[in-house]
Symmetry: D2
Subunit: 299 residues, 4 copies
């Protein structure tokens, strides 16, 4: 009466063979290392990406870049092309667009840090070419397949964020589109999902920590976690960042800001300079204690 032959929301053995063979592990120990400049995801070392939600100004991103370096954060993050849920925000602050990308490029040159930023249309590929090291596909575009293909063809490493309503099965399907196009540098990112309860009325997402071991069981691709977007509430970020590293995530993305309460976007979310500074050595210790891995250390 009930037919189970069609695949549903969770991963089945058949999916691994037929739906995402390139993303699937070939053996229990199969693990890919994705190299980006002088950093790599999926190996002994666990890179941390950090920075402000939005590249508000050149001054801001330079401040953040310098602080990132000081804290041994590996990669500078910053949003320039932001998908805005509602259209009524001042563009000056919230979508710096090509200017924001340019500023990230300046910060990259001045500090030597690698950069990651979200892309929302293939038109942006050209200006990102020299300024951005990792193309971020945001949660709202995980299944924007034309965008995935354009990014795949750029040859750049891709940080593929899980759709907030998407299963890891769908995430692996999206990764497979990129892999099949010949780009093997895919980094998966858990960033919070919709759920019945998020504990605060201002929150929209719940961190799915279970996705880390689940993805590690199925795929050889590196898996990173973004706890800032998941919980949207700075006081919870340190606990969730430590939990992510303890669960053996292959990387971390964290928001910080020199003046969180005056951040142009999502001021409830970023850590202060002091908080990120205090957190990094704890994450280093947790990475070592939990999984014998290195994080944030001087190399």
């Amino acid at each position: 009466m009930i037919d189970n032959s069609f695949p549903g929301k969770d991963v089945s053995a058949d999916d691994i063979q037929t739906k995402f063979p390139l993303a699937a592990k070939k053996s229990v120990d199969h693990k890919s290392i994705v190299e980006v400049g002088n950093k790599s995801f999926g190996g002994l070392y666990v890179p941390v990406m950090g920075g402000p939600n939005t590249v508000e100004s050149l001054d801001l991103i330079l401040k953040c870049a310098n602080h990132a370096k000081k804290c041994h954060i590996d990669i500078l993050r910053g949003g320039a092309y932001k998908p805005l849920t509602f259209p009524y925000r001042s563009e000056k602050y919230f979508e710096t667009r090509s200017k924001g990308i340019e500023w990230l490029g300046i910060a990259k040159k001045e500090t030597g840090l690698l950069t990651v930023s979200e892309i929302v249309h293939e038109d942006q590929l050209n200006e990102m070419k020299n300024n951005i090291d990792i193309l971020q596909i945001g949660t709202r575009n995980m299944q924007n397949f034309p965008l995935l293909l354009h990014c795949a063809r750029s040859g750049k490493p891709i940080l593929l964020k899980r759709g907030f309503g998407s299963s890891i099965r769908d995430l692996l399907g999206a990764a497979e589109h990129i892999l099949l196009e010949g780009n093997s540098r895919v980094i998966l990112c858990e960033r919070g999902v919709v759920a019945p309860h998020t504990h605060r009325a201002s929150s929209r997402f719940l961190l799915d920590i279970q996705a880390v071991p689940a993805l590690h069981e199925i795929t050889h691709l590196p898996v990173v976690v973004d706890p800032s977007h998941a919980c949207f509430w700075a006081p919870w970020v340190p606990a969730l960042a430590k939990a992510s590293i303890a669960s053996n995530a292959d990387g971390l993305m964290l928001e910080f800001h020199p003046d969180p309460s005056n951040a142009a976007v999502d001021p409830l979310q970023p850590l202060s300079f002091e908080e990120i500074n205090d957190l990094m050595p704890v994450l280093t210790a947790v990475a070592k204690a939990a999984n014998e891995r290195l994080l944030g250390v001087q190399k």
Copy 2:
């Protein structure tokens, strides 16, 4: 200790004023009528959109178009550009692309039916110009804002499907992007959401019937329901279609196929020709009984 001033997942009074003023009702009775050719959404008459999941061939779509006409279905639906969760399906069947759009155009000419089909990139606007009457933004692209803007500027009516993980707050935000661009012909579509339980292992979504009165409370835009994609199981579609009409939905989208078990995509989902034929007069009766509205009648 807990700050509720920032908006979360559900709609607040402030949202209505500041986040989507164009989509929001101005008064309790405010209701927009979206006209498409000789049909309209949001008025006394409740249009039904029907057809196959995929425009598999010219023959198939002509068969479906003729059956649609016979059943008093108003608008022919069919997918040509399909977002494929996994990349390993034969393109011959599942993405007919420009050929599929062309075939829909032929069916439109032969039967006089209006057409609706999904667009996934602005490159497709040109070929859709004469063949497609309503541009469908699919669930995976609800927050693909560049696509929304390109479609808005085309001047065509837009069927905006709710993201399967998105709140109606986010849906109204996406609609606002289109409205602000000057295109007022937006039709909202509830098509199933992710949920803890979907009752069948092969299902991924749950029909959110509560969204119909909720949207009607907040917005003047017409609200239609697609029960086929929501439940992904043909035997449940008639009950859910009747429920949707009873809840006062302003339109319906239904999949049907001359040979459901051999449908190229999602064969568990479409109604047979006989089933859709039997269902239409019942829907007519329910529309009348529940809300004094007209549906599928000879006009």
Copy 3:
């Protein structure tokens, strides 16, 4: 690598044979009729249960009972033993307990209506014996198995509400406990589930209308719907009540109150006397139009 042999959250073919064989249909047309006094659930006629959330006073319940009769509502509902999420409500209003049961008994005698009320402990069985016709197992007690067994042994018909976090698989498991104990008069009730989005910050649940056809596919037991508790917002109740009847529910539970804004519990939820009076003939028309069934008519 992934083992699917263990049952998960949705119903599998194996479940039907081994987990709830008594609750499962024996054939496609298998449908049980549960008789309660001169009413029956699961047949041509669709009973409506209505009344206040809480039996606040004898006067209130008599008013409601008389209004119920006038509107052709079949069964009087009212809570006396209420599970209170938080312990700080005045007991005078919110838990009338044995007094509330007694008042329901008086209303039953005066009007001849059948009664339904929630039981939370077997100690209450005795006082319910003559006053209450249907024992309601509330959503929080769906898997309180000692309570299920005590109620089963009482021989009374049982309205088993689905747990707000429970699958229909678990609901059928709970029903099976009662059936196996020898009590075949089980009425299943969908009353809203937890979900990522409920559209209002004050809501906690989403009506799962898909459960109606899903349960009808699997079980022969009658299925009723309680839209009032699902959406917790009176303005949406008529649309959802009509949808429930259109989906072929075998009964309905509705809250109404002579003075909703002054209801002792959950004042956002009940319909007014006028609203329930207006709604009933519409439901009658929908039941007829959608499924050729009778509802609320003079018999």
Copy 4:
């Protein structure tokens, strides 16, 4: 148009004052220590509760108790009264009931370990009096208020598991019922919730790690985590246990079994003796690294 004055699913500032004042923190640093025998929850030391899902036999529980001692696990867990979702399991294996409680008592005497076991009805209080140190309220009974009150009055410490569909707001409401009855020894337990995606078809729950910092922000009560029941898949348990400790949980509950694949109940879930033995020193290191806390060490 939209009224937000009524509390919904997430915690509001008003809830803290009026719904659960006893459970709520009085100041940022307010933290309660719950003492059980020579152990305490909420202090520097983080107790681990471990053992089999079910007290299958005296021999099994003695083996597990001795292994627990060897691994520096603090408290022996084992189910005797099990809420069975479906009624068709052999009682011999799955519900040892009073015999199981007796066997736990023997293991307690022989090893000096404290014990924790689930109670489902107040009738069991007497036999648990001397054999069980912590009464566990299971996820299905979190809002079985008569049971909560009976357990509160026993004076024993109570491990209150979060309902799998319940918000932490509701969890704190349930705790408040116990506290108001005069029993202050309440330990809260996150054990997995329902969610749209659980990654395996055999899983029903998702670990809500976000609940740990969320509860720590609001309540002074200790918060423990049960990753075994959350993910239902032994290979993920170590990663989730490490994450729980890193998130600053005040305790852990873990299932282990001498022969997992032949466990009487839920054989996918328990760790082997070797696995728990290997895990404990890692958890000790993580507790130290992440939060300067002690776990499992010889005291």
